[in-house]
């Protein structure tokens, strides 16, 4: 048994190659929990780590109550966020913990299939998973069938309805959900989608129980979280911290800039928070007043030498291009947001009018897509306009900050490789 207060939990184990099934079982010795696993899961208060922070037990209970003989348990390891690398880290450290959790969730909802989805652009992780699945298949023939799926990588391809759409119909496009909660279906069978990290946590809870799990973290957000740090970090890293750890501690553990200008939390559809909030505990209940969430565990550290507006503009431009172009407000709205931001950053002509239009357009776009892709971008733009208000005023008065004129950028944005994708230039 691993000590309840010891870190790391999820990434426990010797570094090097991913743990084999024998190593994994030797390290994480199973204990019989006091209650049933469903009760333990409910008592643990685990919330989804993919971004929405929905209580996992409630989702499992909901899907378990649905009819269907061939339910699917889908492990989402797509990592659509360019700033995230926690899923590949976790799967490269201990894939069996994730598969454990997936099997437990599958048994809770009565699923016959487990679909593990990794972007095909990640051959290393795909290989680790292949090996892990193979090891398990040799061990037993009982239990749900493990399937490895490798959809192509795209930002929206990791959205749960797009992922289920891929599994159902080989199209990575988000689906419209008229009612919520909505049951996603793969050939008419209910499917439950959970993030890699959520599954790994379920694996831990099933072994050691809810009390053990709650030893770390806050009462509202128990457990640990994997944080992917990028930006002004000495080396890009994933750190595992108990939820509720002050952000400054996380920065220190990753050798990041201790006094950043701002932090982007949650993901590219997340929120900027000012660098002065660096002592805020890293948990949703403390971040919400600042308009941010833990989201998918992404933290982009913006140094004082960078221009937040320029970085935001680059992200929005990229996000606009990543739209699946299914919904008009997203397909047309996001490029126009990017255009407005570019205008604000580069020129002063009609700056006031453009700013007003930008605010208006944010209000127009919000909540009108089939998925939350446009909402995320709107949130990002709004938080940037708030956090970088001083910079914005400077830009609008014709004195843009020095870093905005250089070509050195902090936030990683995958390059637009194809000419035809830059259609809004």
């Amino acid at each position: 048994m691993i000590d309840a207060t010891a870190l790391p939990r999820l990434l426990h184990g010797p570094s090097g190659r991913p743990l084999t099934l024998e190593q994994h079982e030797a390290l994480f010795v199973s204990q019989t929990p006091a209650q049933s696993i469903a009760a333990e899961l409910q008592a643990s208060g685990l919330t989804g780590r993919g971004g929405a922070a929905f209580p996992t037990w409630r989702k499992a209970e909901f899907i378990a109550g649905q009819r269907g003989h061939n339910k699917f348990m889908v492990v989402n390891a797509m990592e659509g966020e360019p700033g995230s690398h926690k899923d590949r880290t976790l799967l490269s450290a201990n894939p069996h913990l994730v598969l454990d959790g997936a099997e437990i969730l599958a048994s809770l909802i009565g699923a016959k299939h487990i679909a593990i989805c990794v972007a095909r652009d990640n051959p290393t992780v795909v290989n680790h998973l292949k090996r892990a699945v193979h090891e398990r298949e040799r061990r037993s023939l009982r239990g749900p069938k493990l399937e490895l799926h490798t959809p192509p990588w795209r930002y929206v391809a990791g959205e749960e309805s797009a992922l289920v759409h891929w599994l159902d119909d080989n199209e990575s496009l988000p689906q419209y959900r008229a009612h919520r909660p909505h049951v996603l279906r793969i050939s008419h069978n209910p499917a439950m989608v959970d993030n890699t990290e959520t599954c790994a946590n379920v694996g831990l809870i099933a072994r050691f129980g809810a009390d053990w799990f709650r030893k770390l973290g806050t009462a509202e957000s128990p457990g640990t979280a994997l944080v992917s740090l990028t930006g002004a970090v000495a080396n890009q890293a994933v750190v595992e911290v108990p939820l509720g750890t002050p952000i400054s501690t996380i920065l220190a553990r990753a050798n990041a800039d201790p006094r950043p200008q701002a932090l982007l939390l949650g993901g590219y559809g997340g929120s900027w928070i000012s660098g002065q909030h660096v002592d805020t505990p890293y948990a949703n209940e403390f971040l919400r007043p600042l308009g941010a969430t833990v989201g998918a565990g992404i933290m982009v550290v913006l140094p004082r030498s960078a221009c937040g507006l320029v970085e935001t503009q680059r992200i929005v431009q990229w996000m606009a291009n990543e739209s699946a172009r299914q919904c008009g407000p997203c397909a047309f709205g996001l490029p126009s947001l990017a255009e407005d931001l570019t205008h604000l950053v580069r020129t002063t002509r009609d700056a006031e009018a453009v700013l007003r239009r930008l605010h208006e357009r944010c209000g127009l776009i919000e909540g009108r897509g089939a998925c939350h892709h446009p909402d995320g971008v709107v949130q990002l733009v709004r938080s940037a306009l708030k956090v970088f208000a001083d910079d914005l005023r400077q830009h609008m008065s014709g004195a843009p900050c020095a870093p905005s004129r250089s070509n050195q950028h902090v936030v990683k944005v995958p390059t637009l490789e194809h000419e035809e994708e830059q259609m809004w230039e």
Binding site: L7, P8, L11, G13, S15, G16, R17, P18, P82, G83, H85, R88, T89, S92, A93, R120, D121, N122, P123, T124, V126, N127, H128, K130, T150, P151, P152, W153, R154, A157, W166, N170, E171, S172, S228, T230, A234, N235, Q236, A237, V238, V239, E240, V241, R253, A254, N255, S323, A324, R325, Q326, A331, F332, K412, P414, E417, H418, E420, E421, M423
Partner: protein
């Protein structure tokens, strides 16, 4: 099968055929108006759409009359089967066959529109493209079969209808409204082939918290080629 022979049946057949031709030309043109987002100021867009829908019903009634009178008229031996299956008529085999093809296509478009709420939107759209084929075949059928289409007023009418359909088609295909860029579907055809996996690849990336990674935040993310197919 009822078989009467009277010149009035023949007259009705000719007249209803002609009216059906004009009506279908109008329906297709109005459909192009709807698709190209015409209207909104003097006439509402929805009104054009309503006209498109109602006229299509009227056109189908005339088409039905046209077929019925032809079938019933025993002067030329065109059975009911010939109305549906091409090349079964002994009278003017090829021209009547074209009419049968046009009727089948129009029938498909009509039935798919009746079932619009039940079928997938893409299916409906796909079937709706058949209306161009249907109206073209019917014009050719009218020109080849029609007793009035070779000279005078009838010829002018066929010419005008052809002109209208051709210009509507050109307008539809060349001047279609800007949709963002089509949908970037990641269909299996559009997606890049899965990379061949090398089992000897050594694992990389961070194992432990705090330990810096050897690779960057996203080692490799080559993007799949985008589907350019408009759907």
């Amino acid at each position: 099968m009822l078989a009467i022979t009277t010149p009035y049946l023949w007259y009705t057949s000719r007249a209803t055929g002609m009216v059906a031709m004009i009506l279908f030309t109008l329906v297709v043109t109005l459909g192009t108006f709807v698709a190209n987002r015409i209207g909104g100021t003097i006439v509402g867009r929805f009104e054009i759409n309503e006209l498109h829908r109602s006229l299509s019903i009227v056109a189908i009634v005339f088409l039905g009359l046209h077929i019925l009178t032809t079938v019933v008229d025993s002067y030329v031996s065109t059975g009911l089967i010939s109305a549906f299956i091409p090349m079964t008529s002994s009278y003017k085999r090829v021209p009547v066959a074209l009419g049968a093809v046009a009727f089948d296509l129009i029938l498909a478009v009509w039935v798919s529109s009746l079932l619009k709420l039940r079928i997938k939107n893409q299916t409906w759209r796909f079937i709706h493209w058949f209306s161009w084929l249907g109206v073209t075949t019917s014009l050719v059928h009218g020109f080849l079969t029609g007793s009035d289409a070779r000279h005078g007023f009838g010829l002018i009418l066929v010419g005008l209808c052809t002109l209208a359909v051709v210009s509507a088609a050109l307008w539809r295909f060349l001047g279609r409204p800007a949709r963002a860029a089509g949908r970037t579907a990641l269909s299996p055809l559009a997606a890049a082939p899965a990379p061949r996996l090398n089992p000897k690849l050594t694992p990389s990336g961070p194992r432990r918290p705090g330990v810096p990674t050897s690779s960057g935040p996203f080692p490799r993310n080559p993007r799949p080629p985008q589907s350019k197919a408009r759907r």
